[in-house]
Amino acid sequence: MGFINIDITKKYPDFLLKCSLDFNNKINGIFGPSGSGKSTILNCIAGFISPDAGSIKINDKILYKISESNFLRNDNISLNAEHRNIGYVTQKPNLFPSMNVDKNIRYGYKDDNLISVEEIIDTMNIKNLIHRYPNELSGGEAQKVSIARALARFPSVILMDEPVSELDLKSKLMVLGYLKKINESFSIPIIYVSHDISEIVSICDKVAIIEYGQIKDIKNSQSLAYFSTNDTEFENIYVINESISGNSIFINSIKINTLHKVKSTNAVILIPSTSVILSKYPVKHIDADNMFLGKVRNIKLLGSKVRVFCHIGFDIVSDISKNSFKKMNLNINDEIYVIFKSENVKISYI
């Protein structure tokens, strides 16, 4: 039995959601295309939509339990949204426009909370924003405040419905970093919904894949990368908090050279898959200062290109053309040199 148990059905005239999930207390993902039922699951957990039948349990607290065979049973339970103690973060920050940041954060704060508002403000690094109004914040800042507001209730789980999909790259990486930090610092599980495979792979521990309202598979997030179904660019995202020195950072103790001096130990790194070069042989005199010997873990044909999943002490994805793939004659378990420029290592600090 996991920390979060969901077993629900919800019928619409043209759609049937049938969902059975066991999630742990880390960051859990729900991945699927638009219209597959991801947000409906979150709305059912939060109590905004009532499923037709089933049960929702978080850390042994029953939020919803309705028997399909008998709607009038005495032990049926359906807690109102306000009694579920669940944090909810939407695609847009949705801060209360007429309240400043401080009031927004304190809206749901309970005096008996295990964490103080000040602690949350420190963790999210928003002390300089507390007197501002939502229309005076950038997208990334507003989303950080929105997460802080959900956190201030010390919820038993935080539901996140594509929270970074409307943010620019820098803000997106920053927010992803904070999610990891929140989960680790406060031990609050997160259910993270997205249709962006890179986001899910970078922060989630366990991922449910949903299509047409049905859970197709539950995987660990690294193996989900192989699930790529479209040829949009894959972003290798790494949330790190390891030691740094000068112009380098460490991912799983592997030293990566960066263009600029690294300013903080807490950062999120992005290496676009299209900027990762593969070679079967070591390359000398090349204008790229990151080269690692690794192994090919998986290969996937995606329309006009081939996605190659490599392991160099950490997982990294490279998108290459079909032509290059044929020339290189790549196979799974082949040894491979993975090369990328330091200027393609994008860093966002938490």
Binding site: A81, N85, G87, Y88, T90, F96, Y107, A150, R153
Partner: protein, 224 residues
């Protein structure tokens, strides 16, 4: 006569507006938040009827309902000993019925413009329906709601047709500014007429001006 009419008009309009506020909010919440199409259609028709019917006809319906033989009038008369027709209360009710559609429509638009995700988030943060309504729904729609209230008040100031049928044209009881203007025209009292017209135009102008600023503020607030 002019001062009496002015005071009475403001009194009647304030009472009519106060009577309408809770109803307009209730109707606004049901129509914008309750998802039953048939109930919403029924309420929409009920709200719109006084807007499309001649005010004289609305006054006539009120007269029938509240006369001692009407189904509400009979109850009020026989059980409580209260008579409504041709009283100040009748003038208030007439103004209330005629101005209600304007207020209710503005409140519906104001509630409809509130982002539902804000309400969902408020509930996830532990707010029950009442706290959510006051801290989010009403707070975020306040300018639109106030503009609606003011619009209803302004409409009450000018109400004539339903009032004359249901409340009569009695000095100090139901002779509001519009009825006093009618009286002055009938009797050829030009001095009072000019003053009454000045008061009427002044009050109407002030209400519409405040309304304009509130609506501007409301749209500006939504943009922010």
């Amino acid at each position: 006569m002019v001062i009496d009419a002015l005071i009475l008009t403001i009194q009647v309009s304030i009472y009519a507006t106060l009577l309408n506020i809770p109803l307009a909010i209730l109707f606004g919440l049901i129509i914008t938040r309750y998802k039953s199409k048939s109930i919403n259609l029924t309420l929409d028709v009920l709200i719109s009827l006084p807007l499309v019917l001649p005010p004289v006809l609305s006054g006539y319906f009120l007269l029938i309902i509240f006369s001692p033989t009407g189904f509400i009038g009979f109850f009020l008369d026989s059980v409580l000993g209260v008579e409504i027709v041709f009283t100040k209360m009748a003038a208030v009710l007439a103004c209330s019925v005629i101005s209600f559609p304007l207020m209710a429509r503005a409140v519906i638009i104001a509630f409809d413009s509130v982002n539902r995700d804000l309400e969902k988030i408020a509930r996830s943060l532990g707010a029950g329906y009442i706290r959510m309504f006051f801290t989010v729904t009403l707070r975020e729609s306040k300018y639109g709601v106030i503009a609606g209230i003011l619009l209803g008040f302004a409409r009450s100031l000018g109400e004539f047709g339903a009032t004359i049928i249901f409340a009569g044209n009695i000095q100090g009881i139901s002779r509001t500014i519009p009825l006093a203007i009618f009286q002055s025209i009938q009797t050829g009292n030009d001095n009072d007429l000019s003053l009454l017209i000045f008061c009427s135009v002044g009050l109407g102008f002030l209400s519409v001006l405040i309304n304009y600023f509130l609506i501007n503020k409301s749209t500006g607030n939504n943009r922010g």
